[in-house]
């Protein structure tokens, strides 16, 4: 079942690249006591993500933070090494944290996982965004397959 607005964000372990390699971090810790903007997408280095989704959040990071967002997380079913490399290519450091959901645990817990094996991508995530306030999902925007609009940073700015 897909997560619903007003419900608690599920707990899952994800990974962020640190100096000593991928560091396991719980979503419980990522969301505790703060307001977090999350956006999820089908894959690092893929077309829509590369040309629009991530750059949109990097570009609007300051505007989102000015509206009360403490942290911005980009999540994909890729490993932390790939996420870090992709983030650096788009100037994410210091603006958007690149979170690897390589085991698809968060995508499955949110109910946004999808089978992309026909494209040689295994299990991936649908495209979405959400605002999580102290662990509670305040806003959840799930894109219909192949579309890009309501999960954008620009749209999230209108929801804050």
């Amino acid at each position: 079942m897909t997560v619903s607005q007003g419900g608690r964000a599920p707990e899952a372990t994800v990974h962020e690249l640190g100096d000593a390699g991928p560091k396991a971090v719980s979503t419980k810790d990522l969301f505790a006591g703060r307001k977090v903007a999350v956006f999820g997408l089908p894959g690092a280095f893929t077309r829509t993500c590369s040309s629009k989704h991530l750059p949109g959040f990097v570009e609007n990071a300051a505007a989102l933070k000015a509206k009360g967002i403490d942290d911005i997380l980009c999540v994909s079913v890729n490993d932390a090494f790939v996420m870090d490399a992709w983030g650096k290519e788009h100037g994410a450091p210091g603006k958007v944290r690149m979170i690897g959901d390589g085991n698809a645990d968060l995508a499955k817990a949110l109910g946004v996982d999808r089978d992309a094996s026909a494209n040689g991508m295994g299990v991936r995530s649908k495209r979405y965004s959400m605002i999580v306030d102290n662990g509670v999902v305040k806003v959840f925007n799930l894109e219909p397959t192949g579309e890009y609009g309501i999960s954008s940073a620009e749209h999230m700015l209108t929801q804050l």
């Binding site: 372990t13 994800v14 990974h15 390699g21 991928p22 396991a24 894959g43 690092a44 280095f45 893929t46 077309r47 079913v77 890729n78 490993d79 932390a80 090494f81 790939v82 870090d84 490399a85 992709w86 290519e89 690897g100 959901d101 390589g102 085991n103 698809a104 094996s117 494209n119 040689g120 991508m121 295994g122």
Partner: protein, 149 residues
């Protein structure tokens, strides 16, 4: 069971990166002639990026002189990630990248490894093999994914 010397590479359709994009080819045609294939646990991971792939790119001409028709690098990553990695490393067509994104070929050869603890899901062990007309002639598997010897 892990594939062994003397056995054939399983028949499958796989995704290989070409200059023009991704091409779906059968392993039967991919492994014609003498082929060196090595696998890495992941694109953009430190050991692979710093040693394994660049080592093969650097020595590609030496392999050709020794009768190797093509060099293939397999990883359980999708083709977009491998394409970005190949550009960063500077592969320049010297090594063909095989995107085994569903780990189908890796599992069929019994060379998969569970790297969930590091958030990498199912990947490939690090290995190198020499394949002649589809038959494995030599196979060396690294004990630990971080090793590269």
């Amino acid at each position: 069971m892990t594939i062994a010397v003397g056995q054939r590479i399983p028949s499958q359709t796989v995704r290989v990166l070409n200059e023009g994009g991704t091409e779906e080819v059968s392993t039967d045609s991919l492994f014609k002639g003498k082929v060196v294939m090595f696998a890495v646990p992941g694109a953009f991971t430190p050991t692979c990026t710093n040693q394994h792939l660049p080592g093969y790119v650097k020595h590609a001409d030496d392999f050709k002189k020794k009768g190797v028709d093509s060099i293939i690098c397999l990883a359980v990553n999708d083709d977009r990630v491998l394409n970005a990695w190949a550009k960063q490393v500077g592969v320049n067509g010297k090594v063909r990248l095989l995107a085994d994104g569903n780990a189908d070929l890796t599992k069929a050869m019994g060379l998969d490894i569970d790297l969930r603890a590091g958030g990498l899901g199912t990947r490939s062990k690090r290995y190198a093999m020499i394949v002649e007309n589809g038959v494995v002639k030599a196979l060396q598997i690294e004990e630990a994914p971080r090793n590269c010897s």
